[in-house]
């Protein structure tokens, strides 16, 4: 991995999240435009984040819900 690629590697998540200051963001965008390997890496990182965001919830089992409700009802009823 080239030196300038290493430098941006540590900041890629912040870049993907739009959390970098403007000038640094521009610098990374310019680098990605001229470096297909980093661009590809950044794209797959972005996809990873998208996949996490789309991950379906683990359903709350009905018996856990019932047990919780009974427990909390006993608590609030003192």
């Amino acid at each position: 991995m080239a030196e300038d690629c290493r430098d941006l590697f540590a900041r890629l998540s912040e870049y993907v999240d739009g959390e970098l200051p403007g000038p640094l963001c521009e610098e990374i965008r310019a680098h990605l435009g001229g470096c297909p390997a980093c661009e590809r890496f950044c794209e797959t990182l972005r996809r990873t984040v998208d996949l996490c965001r789309q991950l379906p919830p683990i359903p709350l089992p009905a018996e856990v819900r019932r047990e919780l409700r009974a427990l909390l009802r006993r608590f609030v009823d003192g």
Binding site: M1, F9, L12, S13, A37, T48, R53, L55, L68, L72
Partner: protein, 194 residues
């Protein structure tokens, strides 16, 4: 959790109104369970965390000052319950993830692709397989990183709220999140190449 209670609801909660509390439970129980299930990896532990979290919340609500979001406060209690659960449970060695281990070399790593759900030829089957691999990758993360990734990327909390929920600085959240994502990315890339 964008649907935080109104000021009126908060006042009722602080006053110990049982109906307001049970409504709060209805509102947040699914997301708290979702977080706990992925943190603990065992359904029984997730159930215990959910119960501990909401009982602790019931006891402490009168002291909730309302400076941050109630949802962040609840996640903070849940994250602490998960950490305690880990200490009680079987020894699971914690390890630090370094940036170096995820840096692509000049070999094929830089070329690896992650198949997107939408790209799959048999969408339903591939989606299920990818979801399974993603769950396994997240479950394989050391806890320090898993809690950050779950709050930021799965539960959708901001960097600031995640830092508040986990008692970390925003810089630490960003560092851990990046490494967690790199870890998951690497697992998915490797699995899909195989």
């Amino acid at each position: 959790m964008t649907d935080d209670p109104s000021d009126t609801e908060l006042a009722a909660l602080r006053a110990g109104d049982p109906r307001a509390f049970l409504a709060l439970v209805e509102r947040y129980q699914e997301r708290l369970y979702n977080f706990a299930a992925r943190m603990c990896r065992h359904r029984e532990d997730a159930k215990d965390v959910l119960q501990d979290t909401l009982l602790s919340a019931a006891r402490a609500l009168k002291d909730f000052r309302g400076e941050g979001k109630l949802s962040t406060w609840l996640f903070r209690i849940a994250a602490n319950a998960c950490r305690k659960m880990r200490r009680r449970g079987a020894f699971e060695p914690e390890r630090e993830l370094s940036l170096e281990e995820f840096m692509p070399g000049t070999g094929p790593e830089g070329q690896l692709e992650i198949v997107d759900w939408q790209d799959a030829p048999d969408a339903a089957l591939e989606r299920a397989r990818l979801r399974e691999e993603l769950e396994a990758a997240i479950a394989g993360l050391p806890l320090l990183y898993r809690e950050v990734l779950l709050l930021r990327d799965v539960e959708g909390l901001s960097t600031e709220a995640t830092a508040e929920a986990l008692g970390l600085t925003e810089a630490a959240v960003k560092t851990r999140l990046h490494r967690a994502r790199l870890f998951v990315r690497q697992r998915l890339a490797r699995d899909w190449k195989a």
